[in-house]
Each structure stands twice: as structure tokens, then as C-alpha cells.
């Protein structure tokens, strides 16, 4: 059998189901790959060798007994370290949770286990998912497999890097302002932010509750769809969970077709700050869509220019409250408890020592925005902008079926370049944030390499809330046309590590 780590998830599941290979062999091949290269990439914070092999053995035992296997049975997956895993460390990339072993599984974790997915371990991320480069991890940065001196995106850089370096065929990310899509774009992989409420947030450590959404990361559109179906669906433990059937995303991914579709190009995404090569590949993608039979329409969403500002008020406000629980009383780090200090002092010392600079910055920003006297001007106004952005989307979707844009203004930047320049860093999420504010669905998939630096560029597709299947129908069509044009999947051009 060929290199098991090069298979797609769909191929892997088929090979295991047919007995061509075993789940244990697949798991072992990936564990070996991790052992061989992750020192360089640093995609994982924790590798659960025992747990992965035990899960794989269980799949093989099921098959031996003739039980029917699910569509992802035995497929390895890299889980972002923001989902709780019973008995397996969960750090959220923060020192404040270093060593914490949750006593419960997130709903998403439980669903993956029920689908017989083999969880290899937990992936690196910006601390508490705050960042666009994974440099904010308390445990050191992750390298982009295309160029290890560059960022793999963030906050889910560990997940995207694991995919792009063939350490796992599937990964899970979370997207608050672009943390699934931007890493996918800069690593040449596929990432989907489902409609808000599609994937349960129970057990996903909260950054900004009204924006956070878990979703699938993969190397192909079909693989992402298979994972999407496994993790989505109503959860009574999450009040914001959608109580409706999951759109038929797998079927859509198997039937890529854009003929007769109206595709909107958002006028506001482009121009100053956008890298030439990114725009070149984006225009090619639009041209491709036209060739494939889509009708291209320019649309204007004027409020989008305020999205970044609104986001950097709403997300910090919610995070300042969500992260208050990390107080050294019940779990996690405790610093300075020498018998003389009060609980208040110990809490303040622990939070000072346990949180990194970006987390502190956002906590203070949010505390400021919610303060009496400032609430209306900042948090209140930001929530109004959110209404305007939602209206812009509604107007646009009244006219078109999906919107497209570049996923990010630039390709992967060098590690360290924007580390202490928060405003520059925030620009990475310019195109992704509106969908978080409005709660609709969006995907990023590879659309080529930027001519000037040879790094991957992502195409973003945006669909209305609850119409996640449209992403996959369009994404599959674009993917198959590009793959045919390139003669191979884009990732084959990545350096071998």
C-alpha cells in the first residue's frame, strides 16, 4: 500500500472498511510521521499515542465482527486544543491551563469518538484562540509546512499545519474571526466555518461566545464535508445550537456544480493592503467560476469596512467576561499562594503570570469597552454595526447565491513580523470577520500560489446562514477544476519535510 499519510480521509475510510489496511496501521503511520517531523513543525501540543491506538484497535475489532463502519471510521484527526477531552490535557495554548485534565468531553469530542474517528492529539493554537499566527501560543509557535519560517495562520495554526504536513488527514478548528479559514488559506488546505450554531460549542473553551464556531479542516472539500456531517447537529447542552437537520453537505461535495449560480464579488474586499499575487489568484478564481457556468455579479457591502472595528470591540468584551473564570481557585495555575496572600492577590498574580500579552490586551480592551460610561459608544455601537453588516449580507443574498473574496489580504507572513504590532496582525482577518459577526457560513479553499512568493492563496466562499451545503457545491466545483488545471492537488507542491 502507498504512503498511508498521503490518502484523503475518504480514501482512508474506504481502505479500512474494505480491509485493504487496518485502522491501527493508519494510526501508526501517522504517529510515526508525527514522531519524525513534528519537532520541526510543532503542530501538536499533546500526542495521545495510547488513546489513538486504542481507538484504532476498537475500529479494527468492529470490522472483524462484521459491524458496519461509519464514513470516517478509523480516520486520524488532529483536534485543536480548545475542545475538552476527558482524561487528555487541554491547555487552549495557555500557561494558565497547563496540566489541566478535563473531567468531561466536549460534545464535538464525543461525536468524533462516536463516529470512530481516531484522535491523534491536540494541536497548537494562539492562546485562547486570540491571534492570526499561532505565535501567541504559550508553548511556542508552529511553522508553516510551505516555509517553516512563516506563520501557519491562526489561531488554528496547529491544525492547518498538521494537515499540510501530512500528519493528519482531518483536523478540527474554531473560527471566531477567521481562525479556521485564514490558516487554511495560508497553508493550502480547506477550512469551513459552519453557520453559527451548527456545531455545538459545549466543551469548546469560549473566547467570544457570540462569534465562536467549531468546524472542519481537511485537505479536500469532500473530506471537510464528511467531517462536517460528523460533528454538526443539534445539541441540547448548547442553547445557541440550531435545532434543524444538518444541510446535505456531503451530497453537495459529491456534486460540485456552479452552472446557473449567481456569484457575488464583494467590492469592498480588495485594493490597498491586498497583496498583488493574492488578487491575481482571486481574479483567476472568479474567471474560473464564470467559465464553469456561474453568473458573476459585483455587490457592495458598505458596512464591511466597519467590521474589523466592531469585531475588536465585541470579541474582547465577551472574552473579558469568559476568561474571568481563570482565577486560580478551582483548576489550572495558581501562583503566589504562600499563606500570606489573599485570594484576590493570588488571582491577580496568577492571571498576570498565566496569560500572555495578547490575552491581557484583549481582556483590558473588553473591560474598557463594557465599562459604564463607555458601553454605549463602544460595545453598544459595535453591536449596531453588527446589525448593519447582517443587513448588508441579507441584501446581497437577496441577489446572489454565494459571495466570493480572497480569504486573506496576504500570504503567510514571516514569524515575528507582526508579533508586537496588534493592529497589523488584526488585518489578517479583514475578509473573514463579517461572516462571524453575521453568523453565516464560509469556506476557504486553495486557489493557487502567489507568483511573487510561491505561497498558497485562499478563495473564500460565503453562503447564507443554514445554507452550508452551497459552500461545498461551489467548493467542489472549483477544487476539481483547479486540480485538473494544475494536474495534481496544490499540496503536492509543498516541500517534503
Amino acid at each position: 500500500m502507498a504512503d498511508l499519510t498521503r490518502l484523503t480521509a475518504a480514501q482512508t475510510a474506504a481502505a479500512i472498511a474494505s480491509g485493504e489496511t487496518s485502522a491501527v496501521d493508519v494510526a501508526q503511520a501517522h504517529l510515526d510521521r508525527i514522531a519524525a517531523i513534528d519537532e520541526k513543525v510543532h503542530a501538536f501540543l499533546h500526542v495521545d499515542t495510547e488513546g489513538a491506538l486504542a481507538a484504532a484497535r476498537a475500529v479494527d475489532a468492529k470490522r472483524a465482527k462484521g459491524e458496519e463502519l461509519g464514513p470516517l471510521a478509523g480516520v486520524p484527526l488532529a483536534l485543536k486544543d480548545i475542545f475538552t477531552t476527558e482524561g487528555v490535557p487541554t491547555t487552549v495554548g495557555s500557561k494558565i491551563l497547563d496540566g489541566w485534565i478535563p473531567p468531561y468531553d466536549a460534545t464535538l469530542t464525543r461525536r468524533l469518538k462516536e463516529a470512530d474517528v481516531v484522535i491523534l492529539g491536540k494541536t497548537n493554537m494562539d492562546e485562547f484562540a486570540m491571534g492570526s499566527s499561532t505565535e501567541n501560543s504559550a508553548f511556542g509557535p508552529t511553522g508553516n509546512p510551505w516555509d517553516l519560517t512563516r506563520i501557519p495562520g491562526g489561531s488554528g495554526g496547529g491544525s492547518s499545519a498538521a494537515l499540510a504536513s501530512f500528519q493528519a488527514p482531518l483536523a478540527i478548528g474554531t473560527d471566531t474571526g477567521g481562525s479556521i479559514r485564514q490558516p487554511a488559506a495560508v497553508t493550502g488546505t480547506v477550512g469551513v466555518k459552519p453557520t453559527y450554531g451548527a456545531v455545538s460549542r459545549y466543551g469548546m473553551v469560549a473566547f467570544s461566545s457570540s462569534l465562536d464556531q467549531g468546524g472542519p479542516c481537511a485537505r479536500t472539500v469532500l473530506d471537510a464535508a464528511l467531517l462536517h456531517e460528523a460533528i454538526a447537529g443539534h445539541d441540547p447542552l448548547d442553547s445557541t445550537s440550531i435545532d434543524a437537520p444538518v444541510p446535505a453537505v456531503v451530497e453537495a461535495a459529491r456534486n460540485g456544480d456552479v452552472r446557473g449560480l449567481r456569484v457575488g464579488v464583494v467590492k469592498e474586499f480588495g485594493g490597498e493592503g491586498y497583496q498583488d499575487g493574492v488578487m491575481t489568484r482571486f481574479h483567476e478564481s472568479v474567471e474560473l467560476l464564470r467559465e464553469l457556468g456561474a453568473e458573476i455579479v459585483e455587490v457592495s457591502c458598505p458596512s464591511f469596512t466597519y467590521a474589523l472595528a466592531a469585531y475588536y470591540l465585541i470579541a474582547p468584551s465577551e472574552c473579558s467576561s469568559n476568561l474571568a473564570r481563570f482565577d486560580a481557585m478551582r483548576y489550572g495555575l495558581r501562583v503566589g499562594d504562600d499563606g500570606t496572600r489573599s485570594a484576590e492577590e493570588v488571582t491577580a498574580l496568577t492571571r498576570e503570570a498565566g496569560f500572555g500579552a495578547e490575552v491581557k490586551r484583549r481582556i483590558m480592551l473588553g473591560t474598557y469597552a463594557l465599562s459604564s460610561g463607555y458601553y454605549d459608544a463602544y460595545y453598544g455601537s459595535a453591536q449596531k454595526v453588527r446589525t448593519l453588516i447582517t443587513r448588508d449580507f441579507e441584501r446581497a443574498f437577496g441577489d446572489v447565491d454565494v459571495l466570493v473574496s480572497p480569504t486573506t489580504p496576504t500570504t503567510a507572513f514571516p514569524i515575528g513580523e507582526r508579533a508586537d504590532d496588534p493592529m497589523a496582525m488584526y488585518l489578517a482577518d479583514l475578509c473573514t470577520i463579517p461572516s462571524n459577526l453575521a453568523g453565516n457560513a464560509a469556506m476557504s479553499l486553495p486557489c493557487g500560489l502567489a507568483p511573487e512568493d510561491g505561497l498558497p492563496v485562499g478563495l473564500q466562499i460565503i453562503a447564507p446562514a443554514l445554507a452550508d451545503d452551497r459552500l461545498y457545491r461551489v467548493g467542489a466545483a472549483v477544487e476539481s477544476a483547479f486540480t485538473a488545471r494544475w494536474g495534481h492537488p496544490l499540496l503536492e507542491e509543498a516541500p517534503t519535510l
Binding site: 475538552t84 478535563p102 467576561s321 473564570r325 483548576y331
Partner: protein, 503 residues
């Protein structure tokens, strides 16, 4: 902590100032589970055994609203004559405290579920005072801390604290009055009557037992004074977590005297929280905060808005019980007792028990006699609530029936009740086991009567001569001989019969 505050006499305080009160009552609902998670609310569980990721505030956990919590809030709102919100949200109240796992309380802020109501309360002399209700909103309780190492078990001087989160997340309804003006010298009495009436109402609604001694209902007393004839409110003090009716009254009274002392010497009242001390009847200052509280309220993003359907609200309105004040008036009438007697029944917590006993067939005066007499005595002796005694209204009604049928007299009935309380079974079983039935059989009583006549020839002669009243002495002798078990009326009949006298 020593009390250094000077006081002026209550009369002097009222001579110069007019008190304005605000009362904030927190009621723990009697739901089976917590407000935002499925953990049990059962009392008496071992520490930290009724906690889950949500009420422990573990990373990743999320809240889901308890439907019965919302229903109870609406019922309370309706009973307080409030409007029920068409649409409202939960909000986060952000502040750090170790007994609060998330370091924010999930509460409601500017969109309470119920608002703009009133409650009419009856004062001791029957006067009815209307207390306007600002709002009633839903929130959650905190965990419980035990302070170790301090001399008094208080927070000051403790070396560390231990936290049990079983109570964290239990549903609370906070009921806030509008400023209570115009009560004058009766302000402390109004405060007490309001909390008492509210407690009865909550119980009548069946949403909580509202037992103040168990912390299921707690009252914050906000009080300020203003000189007579002025409109503007003075600076208020907030006396927190007062947990008995008597203390509510005393705290208000104390604060009136303390404020007056400060104001009359040209001082200013500090806006602060204060603690009430049962032992001294006084309040002391809480910690003065360096910076004003800023709770940074914002809509809870993890919970969706609550928009109670009007049909639901109307359904709940239809289930509302008779208001306690009106019900008391009706029962007082039906039972034919005085205001004062009714007050005793209310204070003893006996109203529902008496009603249930009457419903089970007992005459009201009998039911009241047993609950307010023998049983009230026992509940005092044992230090348990009347309703917690191991006897049911049906059993008390059965005792009344046995007395009415002549099968028991009062003395025997007391023994039967004692037997029921001792766990010996139903009244009939106790009668049977203890052999307590009244003896009225002439055969069995004949010998004792004969003996009594023989032993008291002088009295017997008097009776024969027509002094029927003297029969009492012989009845007494027979009762003594039969250890009280004889049917006294039947004994009298037999004596007269045997002595050939008409009764």
C-alpha cells in the same frame, strides 16, 4: 467588631426625618434542578457532589435555562401584579468572587422578566399598605464558603476558606421594590409585613418553601432618611442578607436611628453595604471599596432571549392561587376567630395544615385546637416546623373523628397523637396497640361503678336525695379507677341509673 455608631431614639429620629426604604428579596426556587444545568438542588448532599462542568464554571461549559425556573418567575411576577416582558434577555454581571465559579453572575439587567407591580400588605392593625414593585428577575445563587482559622468563623482573620459549589447555580428570583415612601414611623413594620406577605405568597404559589432560616429567602434592606418636607432622597445604606422577619424590622429600625444620629450632628451617610447582627440587633459597616463597583453588564451571549408566549402567560395566570392576605381574611371569617388569633395561626405556620385537616373532615375549631395546642407545643419542644412533624392533617382529622364518635376523649386523643408522632402508625393502629379506646360498655364499667358507689356511701346518699351534681365525684372515682379510659358520659348515666335517679 465593635459597634461605635451612635444612635438617637427612634421617636427623635422620626420627629426630624422621613425614612425611604427599598427592599430587595432573593428567593431560592424549589426546582428539582439548578437554573442553568441539570444538577440536583436537593439539600444535605455531601460537598461538591451536586456540581457539573456548567455550575462549576469549567472551561467550555455552557448554560441552558430551566423551564420551570422561567415559569416560576412568571408566576411570581403575575402574583405581584407585574407586567410580563414580551421579550427579555439574561445578562452577565461581572465581578470577581471565589464563591462565584464563572466570576460573573448570570442575571438580568435592564430587561427583567417581570416589572411594574405591587403587593398590598396588611399591617398588625389591619391597615393595608401598598408596596410598589419595580421588578422581579431571574438569576443564580453562589457557592458556599467556610472560613477557617478565624476566631469566630467569620471572614476576618481567617487563614483560608473552603468552597462547596452545591448551591452554585440554584435558581434565584430577585424581587425589588420601588422606593417605599410615606410609611413614616411604621417603615420597619411595613418592611416586616412586606417580607412576611411575600413569603406567604411564594409558598402559596408553590415555587419555594421560602424558609428564611435556611437562606431560601433573604432580604436586603436599603434605607435612607430625608428631612420632613423635602423630596430628595438621602444617601442610602444597604443592609445585606437579613434572614428573619424580626431582623428585617430591627435592621430598618436600627438604621433609622443610626442615620438620624449621623445626620443630626451634621455628618454624612456613606453609601455602603452593612451587615446585620442578630445578637446585638445592630448593623456594622462592610468593607469600603476603593473603587466604585462597575459590573459591566452585557447580554449573556450563551443564552438566547426569553419571549414568553402570551397564551402561556395567561395559562399561568389562570393557575394563580387566592392571594394569601385575602385567603386569610376569608378563613378568619369562616373559622370565626379574631384578627389576633389568625395572626397566631399565621405565625405558627398552621394555616395550610388546619385547612387540610378541615378538608379531611374535621371541624375547624377542632383542627385549630390540635394544631395550635398539642402539636404547636411539640413543634416548639422539638425545634421543628409544625409542617415537619411526623403527623398528617388526615391523621389529625381522624383523631377528631374518633373524639366526635365518642371513641376517644381528649386525654386519650393526646396519647393517640403522641403515638402517631412516635411512629406507631395511624390513629386507629395506635388506639388498637395501646388499648386506648374509651370504655362505654355497661358490663365492663358496671363493676367500677358499683365499687365507686360502695366506696362513697355518703355521696351516693346525697345523689339519691336528688343532688345530682354530686355525681361528678363518683364519675371522677370511676375515671381514676379506669385510668381515664372510661366514657365519662356513660359512667354518669350508669351511676344515676344504679342509684335510681333521673338525669
Amino acid at each position: 467588631m465593635t459597634v461605635t455608631d451612635d444612635l438617637v431614639s427612634y421617636e427623635d429620629a422620626l420627629a426630624s426625618y422621613d425614612p425611604v426604604m427599598g427592599l430587595e428579596v432573593h428567593v431560592e426556587l424549589g426546582t428539582r434542578t439548578k437554573m442553568f444545568c441539570g444538577c440536583s438542588t436537593e439539600l444535605g448532599a455531601e460537598p461538591n457532589s451536586q456540581v457539573c462542568p456548567t455550575c462549576l464554571g469549567l472551561p467550555g461549559s455552557l448554560p441552558v435555562v430551566n423551564a420551570v425556573g422561567v415559569e416560576s418567575a412568571i408566576k411570581i411576577g403575575l402574583a405581584l401584579n407585574c407586567e410580563i416582558a414580551q421579550w427579555c434577555r439574561f445578562a452577565r454581571k461581572n465581578y470577581f468572587y471565589p464563591d462565584m465559579p464563572k466570576n460573573f453572575q448570570t442575571s438580568q439587567y435592564d430587561e427583567p422578566i417581570a416589572f411594574n407591580g405591587y403587593l398590598d400588605v396588611a399591617l398588625e392593625d389591619g391597615e393595608v399598605f401598598r408596596v410598589e414593585i419595580e421588578r422581579a428577575h431571574m438569576e443564580e445563587d453562589t457557592g458556599k464558603s467556610t472560613h477557617i482559622g478565624g476566631a469566630t468563623g467569620r471572614i476576618h482573620g481567617a487563614s483560608h476558606s473552603l468552597l462547596d459549589y452545591n448551591r452554585a447555580g440554584i435558581p434565584l428570583i430577585e424581587i425589588v421594590t420601588k422606593p417605599i415612601e410615606g410609611a413614616g414611623e411604621r417603615a420597619p413594620e411595613v418592611a416586616r409585613a412586606y417580607v412576611a406577605e411575600l413569603r406567604e405568597l411564594i409558598r402559596a404559589l408553590g415555587v419555594s418553601e421560602a424558609r428564611m432560616e435556611m437562606g431560601q429567602m433573604r432580604c436586603d434592606v436599603n434605607l435612607s432618611l430625608r428631612p420632613h418636607g423635602t423630596e430628595k432622597f438621602g444617601t442610602r445604606s444597604e443592609t445585606k442578607n437579613v434572614n428573619s422577619l424580626r431582623s428585617v424590622e430591627r435592621a430598618a429600625r436600627f438604621e433609622i436611628q443610626r442615620h438620624a444620629a449621623v445626620l443630626s450632628t451634621g455628618g454624612t451617610i456613606v453609601q455602603e453595604t452593612r451587615h446585620f447582627h442578630e445578637d446585638t440587633g445592630s448593623t456594622t459597616s462592610g468593607r469600603i471599596k476603593e473603587e466604585a463597583e462597575d459590573y459591566r453588564y452585557f447580554p449573556e451571549p450563551d443564552l438566547v432571549p426569553v419571549a414568553p408566549a402570551r397564551e402561556w402567560v395567561e395559562e399561568l395566570r389562570a393557575t394563580l392561587p387566592e392571594l394569601p392576605r385575602l385567603r386569610r381574611a376569608r378563613l378568619r371569617e369562616e373559622w370565626g376567630i379574631s384578627d389576633h388569633e389568625m395572626q397566631s395561626v399565621l405565625n405558627a405556620g398552621a394555616i395550610d395544615l388546619i385547612v387540610a385537616t378541615v378538608d379531611a373532615g374535621a371541624p375547624a375549631d377542632q383542627a385549630r385546637k390540635w394544631w395550635m395546642g398539642e402539636l404547636a407545643r411539640r413543634s416548639n419542644e422539638d425545634g421543628v416546623e409544625l409542617s415537619a412533624l411526623p403527623i398528617t392533617p388526615a391523621q389529625v382529622a381522624r383523631v377528631c373523628a374518633l373524639v366526635a364518635e365518642g371513641k376517644l376523649n381528649d386525654k386519650l386523643a393526646r396519647q393517640v397523637i403522641e403515638g402517631v408522632l412516635a411512629g406507631e402508625g395511624d390513629p386507629d393502629q395506635v388506639v388498637e396497640k395501646r388499648g386506648l379506646a374509651v370504655v362505654s360498655d355497661s358490663g365492663a364499667l358496671g363493676a367500677a361503678v358499683d365499687e365507686a358507689i360502695a366506696g362513697n356511701p355518703g355521696i351516693a346518699d346525697k345523689i339519691r336525695d336528688g343532688k345530682v351534681a354530686a355525681a361528678g365525684a363518683l364519675v371522677g372515682a370511676v375515671m381514676k379507677a379506669t385510668r381515664g379510659q372510661a366514657d365519662a358520659a356513660r359512667v354518669r348515666e350508669l351511676i344515676l341509673e344504679k342509684l335510681g335517679v333521673q338525669g
